[in-house]
């Protein structure tokens, strides 16, 4: 599963970690995040994220 980076603040969504503070379990792919999920650090939506090329 790919990591995604927030274009605005640089936060990295790591599917292995999920976003437990906001109810997203570890192991959740970025694509499976709910549509209303927002960056936990700067609040922008999923459309402001880009895949991290590794």
């Amino acid at each position: 599963m790919k990591k995604y980076e927030c274009n605005v603040c640089g936060y990295i969504y790591d599917p292995e970690q999920g976003d437990p503070d906001n109810g997203v379990e570890a192991g959740t792919a970025f694509e499976d995040l709910p549509d209303d999920w927002v960056c936990p650090e700067c609040f922008v939506g999923k459309d402001e994220f880009s895949p991290v090329e590794e």
Binding site: C9, G10, D21, E41, C42
Partner: protein, 401 residues
């Protein structure tokens, strides 16, 4: 007016003695917009002031340097209290190159016509040689906006920390050892709670990055400069980034006909146990600013509102909206309030507390019209429960010895 930090590094900002409302934040002691001038073979101005005070900034710079000799303007953050005079400086200093990061450039270009500005874009680890001194840059996104950056002068161990470690505090002196320390720390706490409480994780990362630097002085963009008590402000930040709970109970309320006030006082009485600091905050007296500040280090919080038009009182609603955005973590509490012919206020408060991710300690504590002696006893018991919970949360937050 200027003040020397080191030889040829001077504060050239503006002290705002009159401001009391900083986009809703009650700045009871005013503020300052700190700008700094570094004179070397090349000269650099670090940040500016609010647009309305540009003439004061330019006058201070001119006392030290002809304006046409300013080579660089470093912009660590585009928000108008710091970036507001960038356009005026560019206009007054024809040679100047604006040194900033890509995100800040985009924001500046959203606020100003930047079409004829000279730019030099920098990022973390980049340096700018001025002669004997070097500026090095550290991007610290979300401390306080995506563009936020700090600038470090290794030769002096001087960190221009932008909004980090700042305070809304107007004073005649520029340094922490020239002002009453507890007052300055108190204003730093109010600033943290009201401006950046929600950014705990990005601030933790910034603190970690800054810990690798040899820092002898921290020059923020608001308030006094830290040179003698850096240990105190750095230790305080370590607590604040995790909203570390102290053995403190906060009881916040609004009231119509004093019933919710009676309940609030009874909860507060019950919470006033040995080893506990219990505070009672009437929201219309203390306002949102005090609510945020008192929440930062409280362990448990009760929020009360009578029922008005089937819901909560609007001032409590506004306060809870403000608090939710500031995202305090690790808080526990419950709602309370009186009602008349129909309920709604306390339940609406409880929903907001749930959305703010409070641990909810009990169902809303409600009473119809006037609290009976039995209800007031229930309030005291609930207050005691808040105190017990606060002690256990504060104890759990202390490092194990």
């Amino acid at each position: 007016m200027t003040t020397s930090l080191f030889a040829n590094i001077d504060w050239v900002g503006y002290v705002d003695w009159t401001i009391r409302d900083f986009h809703g934040y009650h700045t009871s002691r005013g503020s300052s917009y700190n700008s700094y001038l570094v004179r070397d073979t090349k000269s650099a101005l670090i940040d500016t002031v609010k647009a309305s005070y540009a003439c004061h900034l330019l006058k201070s710079v001119r006392e030290l340097l002809p304006l046409d000799k300013l080579d660089y303007l470093v912009v660590n953050h585009a928000e108008p209290d710091h970036g507001g005079s960038v356009a005026a400086v560019v206009k007054a200093c024809p040679q100047v190159t604006v040194v900033t990061n890509k995100k800040c450039q985009a924001i500046l270009s959203g606020y100003h016509d930047t079409s004829d500005w000279n730019w030099q874009l920098v990022g973390t680890g980049d340096t700018l040689e001025l002669g004997n001194r070097t500026l090095t840059f550290l991007e610290t996104p979300m401390v306080h906006w995506p563009d936020s950056m700090m600038t470090y002068v290794p030769q002096d161990g001087l960190l221009f920390s932008m909004d980090g470690f700042g305070q809304h505090y107007a004073s005649g002196n520029r340094f922490d050892d020239e002002e009453p320390l507890e007052t300055v720390l108190g204003e730093a706490k109010t600033y943290y709670a009201n401006i950046i409480m929600w950014a705990g994780k990005p601030i933790q990362r910034a603190l970690e990055a800054a810990s690798k630097l040899d820092i002898k002085m921290i020059a923020p963009s608001h308030g006094t400069i830290w040179r003698s008590h850096m240990d105190r402000i750095l230790a305080a930040y370590q607590d604040w980034v995790v909203c570390k709970p102290s053995p403190k109970v906060l009881v916040v309320y609004d009231t119509m006909w004093e019933s919710t006030a009676m309940m609030a006082r009874a909860i507060w009485e019950g919470a006033s146990q040995p080893g506990i600091t219990a505070k009672l905050l009437y929201i219309r007296a203390g306002g949102y600013t005090e609510l945020a500040t008192e929440t930062l280090d409280a362990a448990t919080i009760a929020v009360g509102s009578p029922t008005l038009n089937g819901g909560m009182m609007p001032v409590i609603g506004g306060g809870l909206t403000y608090l939710k955005g500031l995202r305090p973590i690790c808080k526990a509490g419950f709602s309370f309030g009186s009602y008349g012919w129909s309920k709604g206020g306390a339940a609406a408060v409880q929903r907001e507390l749930e959305e703010t991710k409070f641990e909810i300690l009990r169902e809303p504590l409600e009473c119809q019209y006037r609290p009976t002696p039995e209800v007031l006893q229930e309030c005291r018991d609930a207050g005691k429960m808040l105190a017990d919970k606060a002690l256990s949360l504060a104890c759990a937050a202390e490092p194990k010895s």
